[in-house]
Each structure stands twice: as structure tokens, then as C-alpha cells.
Symmetry: D2
Subunit: 304 residues, 4 copies
Amino acid sequence: MATIIKNEEYKYIFSPYLEPVARITPGNEVIVYTEDAFKSRIKTEADIPSKALATVRFLNPQTGPIYIEGAEPGDTLKVEIQDIELTRDYAVSCFLKHFGGLHLEERLEEKVWIWRLVENRQYLYNEEIRVKIPVRPFYGTFGVAPEIEAISTMSPGPFGGNMDVPDITAGNTVYLPVYNKGALFYMGDCHAAQGEGELCGVACEITAKATIKFDLIKGKKIAWPRIESKDKIMAVGSARPMEDAARIAYAELLAWLAEDYGFTKAEAYELLTQVGGLYVGNMVDTSYSLVASIHKRYLQRIDA
Amino acid sequence: MATIIKNEEYKYIFSPYLEPVARITPGNEVIVYTEDAFKSRIKTEADIPSKALATVRFLNPQTGPIYIEGAEPGDTLKVEIQDIELTRDYAVSCFLKHFGGLHLEERLEEKVWIWRLVENRQYLYNEEIRVKIPVRPFYGTFGVAPEIEAISTMSPGPFGGNMDVPDITAGNTVYLPVYNKGALFYMGDCHAAQGEGELCGVACEITAKATIKFDLIKGKKIAWPRIESKDKIMAVGSARPMEDAARIAYAELLAWLAEDYGFTKAEAYELLTQVGGLYVGNMVDTSYSLVASIHKRYLQRIDA
Amino acid sequence: MATIIKNEEYKYIFSPYLEPVARITPGNEVIVYTEDAFKSRIKTEADIPSKALATVRFLNPQTGPIYIEGAEPGDTLKVEIQDIELTRDYAVSCFLKHFGGLHLEERLEEKVWIWRLVENRQYLYNEEIRVKIPVRPFYGTFGVAPEIEAISTMSPGPFGGNMDVPDITAGNTVYLPVYNKGALFYMGDCHAAQGEGELCGVACEITAKATIKFDLIKGKKIAWPRIESKDKIMAVGSARPMEDAARIAYAELLAWLAEDYGFTKAEAYELLTQVGGLYVGNMVDTSYSLVASIHKRYLQRIDA
Amino acid sequence: MATIIKNEEYKYIFSPYLEPVARITPGNEVIVYTEDAFKSRIKTEADIPSKALATVRFLNPQTGPIYIEGAEPGDTLKVEIQDIELTRDYAVSCFLKHFGGLHLEERLEEKVWIWRLVENRQYLYNEEIRVKIPVRPFYGTFGVAPEIEAISTMSPGPFGGNMDVPDITAGNTVYLPVYNKGALFYMGDCHAAQGEGELCGVACEITAKATIKFDLIKGKKIAWPRIESKDKIMAVGSARPMEDAARIAYAELLAWLAEDYGFTKAEAYELLTQVGGLYVGNMVDTSYSLVASIHKRYLQRIDA
């Protein structure tokens, strides 16, 4: 039977200094409830973000930390995302003051956009834009506590965190480095949909409930988060300027090819040059996150 | 009947000061032959790049400039790529000294990789890596002469140039700003395949022959290259650091949505936030090139 | 009589979660002993950094946190540096593997450089280079605990931290934002000398003893560290890419001119354009630190 | 007797394709007249930049190209600046739309600032700000034609160009790489004063007359501009992001120390770490320019 985890008090740092909210044995199913990035303080087009958030000290509340039994520094934490269920019937996006990926000539006013779940919750629809977009939920924030630092939940890093990459989604497995006993896992910030880059800085923010399963790869060290889908293996790099995030992501993926798939570094470098994928997860956070990927079909050696 | 254009002397700058090699009336089919980025000086694994290129002053030879009749500053040049035919049976990649997207701990030696066209020219195969990858040819370099500058063919910019974005491919239409009478179009640097980022800096370089058709949109000004495929509209931004390329690409795409698709800037900004695509074309050139995109299905207004 | 502060256990994070090592009433003199960045583990040219540091988990030990009585969030902490005394007769620099500001063609081997204090401790001399340079001691690391984050002592930020800017020196006053009750001040990483940029990543590292005096400006909020010398006022910005650090530093200095010197923002912007100073403190840390400055003589209005 | 050079038609590109306006034998004195960056189109506070410049296609007019007899690719051009005389009694700065180093919360309106030469032309005074600043004239733009590119006079690069670094001033010598027969030298954009960074993007722009002397170092190759003053040797790097400009500047200065001053690369790297200077020339141009320097006193070996 799945353990259900719901924070009473949400967390705003990825910290090794906080008391775990649950202790989980690897292999068991866990159901985690998460708040949206604004802790549901913005609900309608009539809400003015700067007012609704006026007394708010921090954004992006996380559920956790979750203690994984047996996890030790130097292991890799494997998190299978089995299912994401959205727990309300609308998502919220908005333009915030002094925030966002573009510096437009005319500064846009702050404004709330409500995207309603429609057509059996398969689509989102905004009544002003009048465009229908598919629901593709994923977790914007997903990570473990750093070794000794406590980092804002607005930030991504080697520990994961606020990466905002759409591949952290149901059906995929996320690998994270373990820095602390118990790993101390956090998640939150579900997006019902988000484009690459999360351009205005606010995706389709929504409350949600995830079914996940933890596992450990004992004694396996990775440097940055890795993701596996049915078809692809991927690595996430987060840094500024953006080219450094690109280099980190590809270097981590190259390491993966060399470690687990029998390629020399030279072969991996050449192969990724010809068939690698590289998209921008976010271009608005404190560091930018990019995802490098390779399709599994290219990981097979074939004799001529 | 198509005009055939083959340079006797290749060009190494996108320049408004060079004599056109051909004058083309919009609407006619044109066949353009292009050399590979090394002017075919590297042919086998036994070639050592630093020796093969020792006496070479410039790389990335271009065919052009092609004068388009009727083109004037302030117009947009439309280039339909109808077909790309590879004109030899292998492509060349290599590791060059002091070049490439990663700074690896062990510096890799210079080395040539030959990718042979196999299986009815549908795939590329390298005998050392023993991996088969699909042939997906496109033009790495595609652009017009800048207004008064003459720019190296190693560089991308608002005029197009060495963008290395895989969407400049058969079936797609590329839009370029016209700065000079006759537009003065150049193309070259065909890649039989290339991953996003062109990681080591050298894709599957190959000689080719393209069938293209020029058209003009009189009096239509665009700021950066745009691309249209069957499914998507896209814009290319080139800059350093990479986040500036991302901002340029999305700003140009936002402008396109506002100009031609009836969205307000605010609507376009919000829509691109939720469904925009953003991939890295190259992370090795003098400026980085990113492609922002939106699927055409999201350009339709739908009443609830 | 001055309070003497010496850590038993050095700190490797700027953290609001650590127990103060001392409580100081503003206005009193305090003497703070600091370790060098390597905790004195490198002492001679014969030490090999990768061996000497092999079992070391963290670098850059700090003395603190020091609790300042009466400090509250929203105040500004004023720290007068009255004196810096070097507490040994040599400073240590070294080349570390995979670290430093330049990517040189030939990678330099790791290597220790010992700089001896000579000529009545006024100069440093290295026997291999045979060049004499003046002793100009300053604190590389100087800051307060962030609001809720705990940040590595390798990093600079709005809270100060590992800025490596030579103007944090005797005779100058440093202003820091207060985020926590008691401010929670940390310092360390004395440099007997350092060029702008700290090019190889390791300055003339040395143990030291500082005489400082704390004061509070109640209810005064600043966004980034400010420095005042006899002649100049300065602001420090830390970020990546480096241009963002430059913008932060100048924006903070502009704010200072507007708040305290009676200039409109437009006047301040224009004045800084014509007489502002802008140097690079470091180009090797996790974020780069730049210092914007203006000479006090330009803060006087003069009638024509 | 000095040759006097005054352009009839100013140039807006650093180009190898333009006819020289004069041919000069090295060693002779030359007097060069230069226009201001706006070609004197802005003269009073009543001028509105966007109107005054409405029909202007290009900014930053240059005098040149000047052909230096005997200069060949691979040489170094040495330019001694003997004197700079300002040729009018006021300098012009302004805020332009969509330009400048800061993104301020309230966008500043476009506005002209007139700085009058006062006190025997030793100072500049603005009547609105009522601050007096010293006249410290230098050339913002100073360079040679690139090898095959023609580059906008808004841009800096290895060829020099629009560097905006205050050390290109009377009493100093500037060294530039020669790419073309005759070197093809250009100069312009005199600033009566400018702070480091040229924050708002427009310094104290003024017309001027320089007395310079050319010399050649035959067969000496340098990669980026170098400057020598009475006290210091310096190198200028121009790139984006700014950290790349910093690396270029220091790498060129390190090369200089290794070539001409008998230091090993390791010694030079260490020495620059402890005593190098690094300031920002400009943070507003198409690439940023930084100046790395070392005082000549540190170039002397001294036995203990």
C-alpha cells in the first residue's frame, strides 16, 4: 500500500537541516501531494499578483524532505514517476513585475491567465487567448538536499531543484546524486503545461498528486541529474551563462555513454555531435537549465 | 528550366561588395551546388586535419552571391528548399585542435571520422563507432549580404549565415531580411546529419546540390531569419551569451505571432510560455544560434 | 578592551543555522583571527596541492558567525576595518588542477608558489619569479548569513561572501544588508596581495588578525555590499555572466548616489557614465565580483 | 612637417575594401582630424536624439583608412599618440532609447547632456548636474582593417575598433596587428571624458585633432591590441560574455610577458594573479572591451 505524503508546512529551501516528513523504504509506492508555485494564492483573473503575493516571503513551496532508507552519500537516487494527477480544474499563469525571459519594448502590465482543464482534462483552454493546448503535466522542481548548503527552491543545481524541464514527467525515471544520509528528497511546482524556456517565467501552475517509486543505486556517483524515458536518456545542466548549462548537460550525458554503454569518450563525443538533442528547459530561473539527450536507438552497435 | 549555379571561386565572406555569380528572377527553380566546409580537403581517416588544412586561409566556402531580381532593402527574401541531394557517398566529421563545445579533462587528439552513406543513402554508418544514424541533410550556412559589413562565413547573424540549425532543410521555407539591392544570397556547408548543438564543432560535412525557389515579400521587414515547416513556424536568434540568442529567437517569433496571426503581444508571450519550443542549433560558432518555434495547431483560435 | 574572536571550528557555509561564536555590542572594537583558504595545509613548494587537499571536504574556512546585538532584518551592518595584521611570514599561492581564469594551450601543472614577507613585511618576494610586490592585505571573504539559504564559503552574493575584492581592506568601511536577527557576520580568506581578477584562482593566501568595529544603520536597506574608502564610494555586484555583475554593481552605486547624495537617477546615471570606475575583483569564483566606484570629489555640486 | 588628414567622407566600417585617404611613411608625424560619434548632429539640450538622428544610417564616423607604407600582414603597427586637442568647447552625452548599460526600473527618457569645457579647458561642467570633472581625452575607436571582413565602426575586435578604453590617450602607444598591406588604419570617436564601462553608452563625445606617429615592428605578430604607457603595459580583449573579454585580455598580456620580458608562462600567470589590473572599458558595445595591465615595476627581476 502506498504511503501518502502531504506537507503541513511547505519548505522553501533544499536543505540538509530540515526534519524529514516521511521515511520511505526503497521499492515502495509513494503518493506525494504538492502545492502550486504560489501556494494557491492566485486563483482568478481578478487577482493582482503584486497584491496577492504582497505579504509572501517565499515562492515555490516544496513537499519534503523525504528520507529514503539506506541512502548514503555517493549513491544515486532513482525516482520513477508512475503517475501525475492534477488536483484542481484550472492552472494559473501570470506576468509578474520585473520578471520574465524577454525585455519587451513596451513593458507588459502584470496580469493573471487562467487555463481551465477541458475535454476530459486532456486540454487547457484560456478564454481570452482562445487557444487549446494539451495537458502535459510535469514537476518543475525535483531534487535532493545539497551536501552542506541550503538552497532556495527558486534555484536549480547539481542536486536537481527548480529545473523546469518538461521531461520530469510520468513514465520517466529521474536519477539524482545523493549527498546526505537518507537523500532528503523534495518535490513540487507541478506544471500542467510549459513550453521550452518557460518564457514569461510562469508556466501553467497547478496543484497535483504524484505516484512515485524510489530506488537506490548503491555506490554509483553521478554529477548532475539524469533522466530516462522509454526512448531516450538525458542529462540536465544548470548554470549561467546558458552555454555553461549546455556544456554541463552534454558532458554528463557523454559520461553516461562512456560509463554504461561501452563507448569511448571520443566515440561518445562524435556520436552526440551527430544525433544529440539539446533543448532549453528554462531561461528565467536563477540558473538556466538545459537538457541534452540521445535516442536509445543510437546506443546499439551494429555491424556493417 | 532550372538555372544551375556552381561557383568557380568560393566565397568566405557574406559581403555586399562581391560580384553576383548569377541573377535570378523570383519564382524560378534554381539548382545550387555547394562544397563542404573543408572544400573537400579531408577525405579519409588517414588525413590529419591540422596538416590537411595547414595552408588553408579560410573555411566554410559558400556558393554565391546570387542576385534576386527586384529585391530591395526592406523586403523579405523567401527561399523554399525543395530538395537536397548529397553528391558523394560519405560525409566527414573530425576533432580539430582548440575547437569544440566541451572542455574535456583529457584533451582529445585530432581525428577524422568518416560516415558512409548506406542502405540506399538513407543512413550514415561509421565503422569505428558502429552506429547507424539517419541521413537528415540541411544547410549549415544560408544567408544574405549584410548592409555594409562583410562578415566571415564562420559567423551567423541577423542576415542568417552560419547558423547550423537543422530546420534549414528540404520542405521548409526560410525567410531572410533584405539589406541590399538584389538581396545577394549565399549558401553552403551542407550537413548530412547533425545533432542539436553540433557538439564537437564538425557535423557530417558533405558536398550537395539543392533545388530552391526564391520569392520576395515586398515591403515586409523582418529582423532575424524565420523558418516555416509544414507544422511549425520558427525564428532563429544568434548571439553570445546563449541566453541572448534565446531572447532574440523568442522575440522574433513573438513579433511574427503579433504581425501575422492576430495575437496581441501579451497573448503571444503567454502562449509561447506554455507551448513554445527552443532548441540549440549550435554552441560552437562565433555566436550561438537557437531556434524558437510554435506548432501551427496553436495558431488557431477556438471558441470554447 | 577589544573582544578577541578565534574559531575553534571553522565554518564552510554562510548560514543562518549556526550558533554564534560571539555576541558583540555595536561600537566596540573586535579582533578577529582568520585561517587561510587552505586552513594552512599548504606550506612549502614541496607540497602537492592535490595531495595536501586530498582528504579535505571544503575550502575557505571562516571565522564566525558573530552576532551583532540589536541587528535586525532590514538594517545595514557597517563594518569598519581598522587594521589587518598578517600572522605569519609567508603567503601561499598555487595552481590547482581544473581551476583558474585562463584556458591555456599547454595545461600548467599544479604547483605551489611561496611568497615571503620581506623588507620589514612591506613586500612579498618569490624566489623563483624573483619579483618583489607590495603587501596590500585584504579580506577575500566578508559577509553575513543569507535570509534562509546556507551558501558555500566559495560563493559571493548580495550577502557579501567570497567576493575577493581588494577594497575590503584596512581604512575602509564595508556595508552589508542584514537578513537575520544579530546579522550573523563571517570573515576569512585574507590575501596578502591579489591582482584584479585573481587570475589563477589563488591569491597570496595568509593567516591574519583584523581589528574591526561594527555599527548598525537601523532601518536602512541596501541590496548589495557597499564600501567606503577615504576617497571613494563603491558597490560590489556578483553574478554570471560578468556583465550582470557589472550591471548590479553600477545599479547599486547609482541607488546610493540617489539616496544619499541628492542626485536624481538620471543625473547619477550620467555622472557615473563619465567618471565611474569599474574593475574586476574576481573572475574565478562561482559568481564573478565587480566593483563600481566614484571618487568623492564628484559628489560635490559646484556652481559655475 | 606633419601630414594633415581630414576625411571628406567619413567611414562607417573597418574595411579592407576602401581607398586610402592618405599614405604615410613610418616615423613621420601625422595630424588627424576626427568627427564626434554623432557627426556633430547633436549640439544642444534642445536636440532630441531620436529626431536629430532620425535619417542617420550609421553612427561613429571614422577618419581613414590611412595606408602605412611598408606594412604587411604579420607585422605589428605601432601608433604613438603624441597629443589630443579638442576642437570645440563642449562635449555631448545623451540617453538614447533602447540603449545603455543598465535596465532601470523606470525607463529614463531620451535626453541630451552638454558638458562645457571650463577653467582653461581643463574641466568639463554640466549646468544641470553642477559637477566638474577633469578633461581626460582619448579615442574611443582606433584600429585597422580586418583581413577579409568589413566590420561596423560600432564594434571592437582583435583589429581594435570601437574599444572605448580610456588608455588610448596622449602619451601612450597602441600596438595593432596588421592584416593587410598598408595596415589601413582608422580612428575616431574622441571622448573628452569617460568612466570605466561607459555606463549609459554615450561618453563626452567631441570633435578632436590628434598628433600621432606610426611605426612598424616587422614580422612581429600579436593577436589583440596592446597599449604601453609610461608606467604600464596593457592588453585589450573584446568579446561576449564579458568573462571571455577578461580571458582574452589577460591571455594576450601573459603572452607579452612571456615573449618580451623573459618570464615563463607559469611565472607570468602567477605574477598577473598577484599584481594584474583588470578594468572594464565598455559594457555597452556589440562586444565588451576589458583592459588587463601590469605595472612596469613588476617586470624587473630582483635578487633577494
